[in-house]
Symmetry: C2
Subunit: 343 residues, 2 copies
DNA sequence: TTATTCTATTAAAGCGCTTTAATGAAAAAC
DNA sequence: GTTTTTCATTAAAGCGCTTTAATAGAATAA
């Protein structure tokens, strides 16, 4: 066993103050004379002192941990979307001296068997819920009265504590870009509308049309029920073509579907962007490899995770609910899948 | 604040024993009468008692945490290879009542700024290092004398504490499959040979040839220096073609490169598998989407993570180094990228 | 029978912090 | 000059466990 390092006692002795003072300084609690504070901080540095989380947690009855929960399929899917959100969270947590406990739950979640251990043991001071989490889980967390923030999702019964990318704005940016290029007949492909992000993007599509004095045409909107995968994009595009819809541009609810739709359109002899311009949403890696590279709306995933953590920290510190949503910025990224409509 | 749940005191009272006995039962330490043990366990259940990690950690001077370290680029790359390893670890950790703290370090790692917080604060009882981690980091951990296991990588200076997939066997399985189909001229494409897995796969390729009484031909082996990405696969295949190498089958060091090589070969008019059979390694998702779907060697990533955790647990419990490598099983998965050579 | 060894249980100390009430000194108010 | 208030610091209790030495009783050996 190695030496276990300095304790608060060592620091107190070296700084010639009581242990209480050291603690007070380190947590900037009470009013401490500037000179005393300096003395303590110097001793801390010299001894390379780090408070033991266990001791701190026992005394203050806080765990110093935050739980990060998402479904296993979200976490291990090919596009590292939630992975990056997690990284943003983890990075931000360093500033707050919190540790993140990441765990996944199955989509077919059952309280009795699948409840994360840190919830059973109450070993977290708050939780982050990323993406579409099972209803039984979010309801359980509400019951626990545990501080929590939803990321890129919000359960039906619930208004606040949500951090989202600005889907409405993103959709409008995409549409304005297409308008600016001269497009007027713009189709929309979406998926699972129970997901608030997808629904908001469709809403943005419609609002943008209205703002441009255009009437949303039902036959230009295709929302497959299932999901939002590349395959779903293929199917949706096929349906659009099958019913002979006429459009010069396509806005899809995410990049995965955009890539699928692009494949399908090319297969049917449509050239991108000459015959059809396409704009996606999310800015996933695969979009940059598409042929042609996909114009899209960039979402800052790391910032999404960081913003959620900050919000949770605030809730934990103030012990208050913080209703209302937080929106993180989005940005148009123009690549080669968009161009003016062919004359 | 919610009620904080039962403590060991409550359990002791209800079971009419001392707190020490409860602790002893829960950690199966001393010899306890069966009847007493039952009484304690019953009380634990009735009160839904869970020991506080903080209290336990403070008293036993263990953190109850395991650190999981990998580089950020490994973690957030498109293929969820390490993500799945992590999931295997996290799942397995539940059995041992340990929590996993996942963190990433930059590839350009510097001790002063990038050392994971849980190492500075000594807040983990051991660490798992996944994939190619910076040398400065692994050396630092050796110095700390902290129990640790490398996953799918081992640093230069170090023999033991490594968990790997069985690369040598996997390569031989791939080669035998090609032999069985009738191939004799089999090329190899590899990348970064400083990675032990890639080196072992090349070694397996050579051994398999020798076992089949064939001489490895230098001009059939192409190992690009840089990396092991899809693009590297394209380049390697191009070099192979450029020098007019003649082969009916191709074994690549991983699926990513296999996919790249496949693209390249198709571009040059070679039909897969009619003109060239291809076998990859890893069984990544993208391989199933390739045209044709890729024959490959499946690696059980979850098991890799689980095995590493078990090994680490053993090291922590026995307080001993466990030198020697552990190999997890691999398996041949035949899809449509392999066929007998054209007559 | 008495001494010895086992077995099962517990008392008590201690892990390293936080937190609150108490204290003393200095400043402000009377 | 005395009382009150404010400021800076600390003593001491306690958070909920683990661990070790001590103890008492039962079983075995002498």
């Amino acid at each position: 066993m190695m030496s276990q390092g300095a304790t608060i006692k060592d620091v107190a002795q070296r700084a010639k103050v009581s242990e209480a003072t050291v603690s007070l300084v380190l947590n900037n609690k009470a009013s401490i004379r500037a000179e005393t504070r300096q003395r303590v901080l110097k001793a801390v540095q010299q001894l390379n002192y780090h408070p033991r989380q266990a001791a701190r947690g026992l005394a203050s009855r806080k765990s110093g941990n935050i739980g990060f929960i998402l479904t296993d399929d979200h976490f291990s899917r090919a596009e590292p979307f939630y992975t990056k959100i997690f990284l943003g969270t983890e990075f931000e947590s360093r500033k707050f001296k919190y540790y993140i406990l990441l765990t996944t739950v199955p989509r077919a979640f059952r309280i009795e068997t699948d409840l994360p251990r840190f919830l059973r043991e109450r070993n977290v001071d708050g939780v982050l819920l990323a993406g579409h989490v099972p209803n039984a889980l979010s309801e359980h967390i509400l019951k626990l009265k545990l501080p929590h923030v939803f990321i890129d999702f919000s359960p039906r019964h619930k208004q606040g504590n949500v951090v989202m990318m600005d889907n409405l704005l993103g959709a409008k940016l995409a549409m304005r870009h297409l308008f600016d290029l001269g497009h007027r007949r713009i189709a929309f492909i979406g998926g699972d509308l129970t997901h608030p992000s997808i629904a908001a993007r469709l809403e943005g599509y419609k609002q943008a049309l209205l703002e441009a004095q255009l009437e949303p045409a039902e036959d230009l909107i295709e929302t497959v029920e299932s999901n939002t995968t590349t395959d779903d994009g293929v199917h949706a595009a096929e349906k659009l073509l099958a019913r002979g819809a006429h459009f010069t541009a396509l806005f899809t609810a995410n990049d995965a579907m955009a890539i699928g739709a692009m494949q399908c359109l090319k297969q049917h002899g449509r050239q991108i962007p000459v015959d059809v311009s396409i704009v996606g949403f999310d800015d996933i890696e695969a979009g940059t490899h598409a042929q042609p590279p996909l114009t899209t709306i960039r979402v800052d995933k790391e910032e999404l995770g960081a913003a959620a953590l900050r919000r949770l920290m605030e809730m934990i510190e103030t012990k208050k609910e913080l209703p209302g949503k937080v929106f993180t910025p989005v940005e148009l990224v123009v690549r080669q899948s968009t161009a003016p409509p062919a004359a």
